[in-house]
Structure formats: structure tokens, C-alpha cells
Symmetry: C3
Subunit: 350 residues, 3 copies
């Protein structure tokens, strides 16, 4: 069960070139493609004739052509051609999804009811076109349910143990840093400031700090994705409360899209500014970030593997779980809300 | 469920040398071997003592010896020796199957009732000894149920999409070619003639055509196997209705033997004639055919994988499905016929 | 179901260095480690916070620290530290097991009731410190239930078929050798003497025999492990009934610890004496033994794989099964005894 009637990230613009792309999203078997005329589209990844994945086919100007007997489907899901016969059977169509390309992000609307139109605009992510930043990204696959990744991203205290050698630094500093958790509507914010601390290796590689730094970590949970804004400035030089503060900035976009009940896609970009006296550090930042996320992946997959071995084992809560638990309550409420209309209907009928 | 009381292809003569061969056929775990005295045999692949596969053992003059404690079994399934003791327990025997070696094909009789004798002769396949042809073959394993391979072989229209670069050629030519489907008894024939068409790459490699060709594809479905006769002749030079026509001929033997309900063995040979002015092209034909079958395997396995994801999804029919659907009805009827005596018996008892 | 309230072998002393070790024993997910102060310990391999395996963490002086959020656990299972907070939650503890290091063997007490203390001392294995012998060992994993390995070790007649090229030698000699089976309490002994026989290749490599040898094989089954004493002496030079007999001696320690219902750990050492005129042969003996065990592993795993394909197939008994069957009856009785108190209680309640 996932929150529905929402936009999820299906992929990135650069993933759709001249080949269709198979991607399961929220248990739905989907093919993403860009037609020869540039339109992006998402269809059920199954030809309605003999069930071959359409992702095994080819992209044409007007749609995707099946690789078995050549049926051609438009972005709308309508079959445009059945090679060798003139009549197109009435039932020759596949389910289509609303897919929007925006800020190089491919947003897909996942409705509760098949075919229902979006009820709001796809989210903005202006960082991708902000001239102060350059960015790179990637798509990771997790053998773990999506909420374990939320937990991980909303709890920055694990940095000291999992990421000691990259963005972590000193464990005690992380665990003892002041932590603020704010929630409003469907959003949760976890804020942590570590004044006068030692810059971690990635920061030192990216920015010419003079010595100790004031460091911030601001995590915004927005159901389909999280924005994580981290950075640091030479100690005492910047006002941590001012969003226009200087120093080194890393702006992470972290979309966690469930693949199935037990697996997830982690679609991320990392944007960074760069110091005028240093070469653009985006490749370094990308590599360090990918390495960090891989460290997380190892831990989260081992955690889930172990949870399956102990299906009924209780877990205890500690102080760092406040943010993750808030987000879990949001998801729980959204799923309940999705179920509510149906429940109300059956109550009325009874 | 498979049609029973029939001959199926278990393997090829050249597969049985000095080692026993494990092969699951119609859900039955079987060991095939050739005794030191040259007899071919098929037994249940399980020693009746400690269940080791007999295929882990060794072949001797009189049978196969288990690789754990040395029990020796004759082609009849009788235990000939229990090392270290004189008395052979009454229950020391394993199930045996009738296996016949004919035209380099190993035919196994799969009876409905364990141990029942064949009620007819094993099929002939004279092409393997026809001096006009040379042949080579192989055994492919499919992670897909056997009937999906029937569908594929009886529907030659997929050539234009799946085999574009080998035996396919122009898709539109394939899809628009005249198609005849004939059925009689348990057999289905699909015939297609493509006069005045461009020869595909494999043909050009094998035969010195002068330009465009008259091309034929004749598919005979015979339940346990299909014979596919394809070829081409310089345009207007041969009578397509004359089986003695000249030109380039490929004679495919395609035995599809179910391994389990969801997997299959594809045991095939391809025979070809060769032009007097060209070297024997059988190695080229074999390699191109293997490549082609591999293209099919990729598609069919992807198709089945996708069918499992959509277990109740409807499929639509198009014109090319006439042949495959006929064959499916034959299989359905044969399975129903196998079930009938039992059903009749229980009806009588009630 | 396994016999409980017993010592099992969890590992060897040399396996615990500076990293924790994950090992499932009797279906229980366990982490073994040696603290910085040298104490060995066994805990449930799951942090009580977020379920990460503790084996992904690090070893410290006072215990093992979780690799996710840094919780520190003592050998007793008590949580000693939750980084970032002062209060340690009452429920912050993990199950602990009694682990004893003795003769370089790690013995774990597997109680029927969680946390119950051992009711006897861990077994002795003095061979590991006997100056006449040197030894080496290893841990093998089997995809087969533990009792199939008992069967194998208690039935030495398979040597002639499975180990022909290593310790086996002539099959007929093995099958026809006199066999004695003795049982007392929970122990089973299988004794076999092969006077005047040809020494197998491993023996010849290890000892300067003059020609034919008197050979012995003495197998002691002790539920959690077997001691197998094999060897040989120049024909007619030693009294086979005298434990102080000379010649070449191999003393095998074979602990079979169930991992799950269908998989097992095989923890073994092989000790050998060496002839004064030959270099120490322990490396040769170790390599040959490992090779031999690998031959067994291949057979036993193939056997189990095949048993799964034929879940209800009967097996026949032959003369060599006397020893294995005795051991199976011991295990059966021990499991029944474990179940008895509970059964008695519910009978009383009814």
C-alpha cells in the first residue's frame, strides 16, 4: 500500500533517449519512452496481443512498436497499427499514465482509479536550473521497502557510523548535535546545526575552508521525495538562519519511488556550488555522494534482510527516530485517506 | 498437463557418450544413458537406496552404477548388484521408460500409466539420412512453457520484427504475405509464399541467388515436434507447389519437449542443401539458425516473464494467430482425451 | 526440529579475530565475536533498535557496536550505550547465548528455553593439544539437512565410490570389509578393519608404508559431532585392538551443526601424526581431506536436491545403513525427549 493520487518520480529526462525503458513503479509494470517527436510517455509495459514487454520494442515518431508482431501504440495507449491487417481490434489498447517532464525530472501521476487525471501540477524543483549550482544524478535500486530509505534520510545521526569516511566525520558530534523536528501538513523537516565542527573529507575536497566550520543539515520530507540541504561555512562567518548564507552548499534531491512492496527506486541528484578559486567540484561531489549512498544501500538492504528473518521482532525507539516516525505517520494517514472514500461508500451501502 | 501416450524427443544420439545425462521431461526426472554395449536407456533419475541422481554415477556394460554406494541398474530398471551384499532387495528397482534411437533422434514414450508399452512406432525423420542434405543441431533450454514456442513457430509473421537481421528481411513483406492454414487430425500446416521478394542475409550467405527470389515457408505441427521447410529460388524459376522444386532449402526439425509446466526443451536440427559452386554451408546455416533461435528465446522468455506479472490479463487475437490457435486446440483436445477414460470410469462408478 | 539442551559447535577459535561473525545455528540468527579484552560471545544477530545485523558492526573492548546508530552491546546482551542520549531504554537488550572456547573449539549451548544455563560441561577434545598430532581445519557449508551428513560419515562404504581417487581405494574391499556397529546411550560406533589391503593414495603420500597395510576406520557418533579415527600400519605389525598401535593415524573431528532445517555447517579438523623420516604431512593431509569432503558435499547436495524432487519416494535399506539408522533413532529419541515435558504438561492440563 502506497499513498496514491500523487506525483512520483519515474525517472530523469536523460534516461529517455532512443530506447524504451522498463520500470516497475508502485507494483505497476510500466514502459517509459520518448517518441521520435520528443514527447515523453508512460504505458503499461505489456503488449495487449501476446504480452511481450513493450520495452523490448522500438521507439518511433508516433509511439512505441512491439518487438514481437509489430503492433504500434501511441502515448495515449491507443493501438495505431496492427501489421498485416487493416482493422484494429476495439480492445487493442494498453493503459496509459500521465508523465510530465519538468526540471529534467519525469513525474508520473499515480491515480487511485485507473486513468484518472492529475488533480494538481507536478512539483517544481528550481535547483536544477539555478545558475549557482551544477548537478549530476543517478538511479539506485534497493532491495528494501521505500520507508526504510525515508528513515535513513530523516535520521542524520547515522552519518557518524555509516559514513565515517565520507560525509560523516566525528560520530559524537553528530549524535550530540541539536536536532529540531518540525511538521506541517504532509511535510516533515529535520534540522541540525553543528557549529564549530571539523569539516568531513568530502567538504574539504570541495571547498577551501580555513579551519573549523559551522555546519548545517536541513532535511525536508515531501512524501514522494526529500530535499536535503547541507553545507558549511568558516566558523562564525555566516548566519545559519539566513537561506542566503554563503559557504559550501550541497542540494540533494532524493526521490524514493516504491518499485514493489519490498523494493524501491532511489532517484537522486546532487547539486553543489563551487568556490571561485577552485575548479568545478561537481564530479567529486557526485562520486562522493554515490559512494555514500552505496554505503547506505548496503546497510539498508542488510537491515531489511534481517527484518525478514525476524518478522515479529519488536524494535525500540531512540531519540533520533522522531523525524522518521513523523514521516511514517504522514504516510500512514495518506494511505488511510486513500482508503477512506471506499470505506465510506461501503458503509453507506450497508 | 501434457498430451500423454505419445513419443516425445528426449535427446539426440550424439548426446549419449560415456556419461549418463540428466533430463527432466514432462515433469519427470529422467536419466538417459548408453550402456557400454551400445543400448540406449531411460530410467527414473533417482537411486532407490539413498536418492542420489543416477546421472551422478557411471555407465557400465550392463547399465548405470550409482555414484554413492555402487548399486547397478539395468536398462529395464532392475537392480543387478548391491555391492557388499548378496541378496538384492525385492524393491530395489527404478522406473524405466521406453527409449528408441532412430534417425539420430532419441524418442521416449511417455505413457499415461507407468510402464505401459508404446502403442505405435516412433516417428520417422528421413531428412537426417537424405544425401541431399547435411545437418547440425542443438538443445536449447527455455524458461517458458512449451506452447509459447509452438505459438512462435506457427506464426512466421514475427520474422520481420524478431529476426530482422538474420532470416527476417522486410517486415511488411512478411505481414502481408498470403497465409494458408490447414488442419487435419492432430496436424496443423501453415503455409506462406512470398513471391518476388528480397532474400534475407542468411539466404544470401548460403546460395548464389541472382536477385529477387520466390520464397516459401511451410510449417507442419505434429504435437511433439514441428517440421519447418523454408527456402527460396530465383524469381520465376521454380514451381512453389512442387516438392521437388530446386533452389536453396532449409529443413528444420523442431522438437519442443516440455521440461516442466513452465519450462521446455527445444531440441532442433537444421538441414540444408548446398549449391554445387559453393562450399558446404551447413556451419553458416547452423550458426545463423542458432542465432535466430536465440533471438526467439529472448523474446519468448521475456513474454512469459511478463505473463507471470499479469496473470489474468486478457490477450487480443490478430490474423497471425490462426495457426497457433489451431495447434492449441489440438493440444487441448489431446489432453481432454487422455483425461476421458478416467472421467468415464468415475462416472460409471458413481 | 533438533535435539536441544546440548552443546553444539559454533565455530573455531581462529575464526574470531577483529570482526564479528554472522552464523545461523539451529535456525537462530547469531553473531559470534571476541571482545577487545579477549572474551568470546554469542548474541542474537539483530540490533534491537532498527534490526541491522550486529555482524555489520565493530568489535570493541566491552562488546559489539552496531554499524547503523552505534548502540553498544555487552556479551551479556545488555545495551551499554545509546549514542546521543543518556537513558538506555529498559528493552534495549538482545538475546545472549553461552559460548565457551575450549581446545580451540567454540561450543555454544542451545537451550530449549531461552536463556537457560548449561546443565553440563562442554565436551573435551584433547587431540587438539596432543603433542603427537598436528591439525588443521575448516568450515564447510552444506545445502542439505544435517542428518544426511551423519548418514555419510557413519557409512564408510561410500569411500570406494565417492572417494576412489583420494582415501577410497578399491571399492570391493570396502564393501566386503567386516563391519561392527555398537550403540550405547546416545553414542553409536561403527568399526571397520581391512587387513592386508592396498593403501589409498593419501596414505601413501603421508607415510612410508612398505607394501600392503592393515587398515582401520573407527567412527564415533556423539550427536553434535563425530570422531573418526582412521589409519593403517604395515601388514601384521600392529594389534588393531590396541589403541596405542603404531602406524599412520588420522584423527578427524567432524561437527555437524544444523544451520536451518535444510542446511548445515560442517566444522571439521583433521589431525595426523607424522613419520620421523618424513616432513610434517599436515598440509597434504588437510588438502586431501578438504578435497574428500568436497566430493562428499557434491554428492550429498545432489542427493538432497533430488530428494526434494521426489518428496514421497520410498528408499530401500541395505546392509551399510545399520550405523546411520542407529544414529537417526538416537536423534529421533532426543527430539522426542525434548518435546516430552511440554506434552506431559498439556496432558496434565487437559
Amino acid at each position: 500500500m502506497f499513498p496514491l493520487n500523487r506525483w512520483y518520480v519515474a525517472g530523469f529526462a536523460w534516461e529517455l533517449a532512443d530506447k524504451p525503458l522498463a520500470r516497475t513503479l508502485l507494483n505497476q509494470n510500466i514502459v517509459l519512452f520518448r517518441t521520435g517527436s520528443g514527447e515523453v510517455a508512460a504505458l503499461e509495459n505489456r503488449c495487449c496481443h501476446k504480452s511481450l514487454p513493450l520495452s523490448c520494442g522500438t521507439v518511433e515518431n508516433s509511439g512505441v512498436r512491439c518487438g514481437y508482431h509489430g503492433l504500434l501504440f501511441a502515448p495515449s495507449g491507443a493501438c495505431l497499427e496492427v501489421p498485416g491487417q487493416e482493422r484494429i481490434p476495439v480492445k487493442a489498447r494498453v493503459r496509459s499514465y500521465t508523465l510530465v517532464e519538468k526540471d529534467q525530472i519525469l513525474w508520473i501521476w499515480m491515480p487511485q482509479e485507473e486513468g484518472a487525471a492529475p488533480t494538481c501540477e507536478a512539483p517544481d524543483y528550481p535547483i536544477h536550473s539555478d545558475p549557482r549550482y551544477t548537478f549530476r544524478g543517478d538511479v539506485f535500486h534497493y532491495d528494501a521497502p521505500y520507508q526504510l530509505i525515508h528513515d535513513n534520510l530523516l535520521d542524520l545521526s547515522h552519518l557518524g557510523y555509516v559514513h565515517l569516511k565520507t560525509i560523516g566525520g566525528n560520530a559524537a558530534v553528530h549524535m550530540n548535535a541539536e536536532l529540531k523536528v518540525e511538521a506541517a501538513g504532509d511535510q516533515v523537516r529535520v534540522l541540525r546545526y553543528m557549529p564549530d565542527s571539523v569539516p568531513p573529507p568530502t567538504y574539504l575536497g570541495a571547498w577551501p575552508f580555513e579551519g573549523r566550520i559551522d555546519r548545517w543539515q536541513e532535511v525536508e520530507f515531501k512524501v514522494s521525495h526529500l530535499n536535503i540541504w547541507t553545507g558549511g561555512a568558516d566558523v562564525g562567518t555566516e548566519d545559519m538562519n539566513d537561506p542566503q548564507r554563503g559557504g559550501f552548499h550541497m542540494r540533494g534531491f532524493h526521490a524514493i519511488t516504491p518499485e514493489t512492496d519490498t523494493t524501491a527506486h532511489y532517484l537522486w541528484t546532487m547539486a553543489a556550488n563551487h568556490h571561485p578559486e577552485r575548479a568545478n567540484v561537481i564530479d567529486l561531489v557526485y562520486e562522493q555522494t554515490a559512494l555514500t549512498f552505496y554505503e547506505d544501500k548496503v546497510v539498508i538492504e542488510a537491515q531489511y534482510e534481517n527484518m525478514k528473518k525476524h518478522p515479529n521482532a519488536p524494535q525500540i525507539d531512540i531519540h533520533v527516530d522522531v523525524g522518521p516516525n513523523r514521516a511514517r505517520r504522514v504516510i500512514e494517514r495518506l494511505i488511510r485517506d486513500n482508503a477512506a472514500p471506499a470505506a465510506a461508500l461501503s458503509a453507506a451501502a450497508a
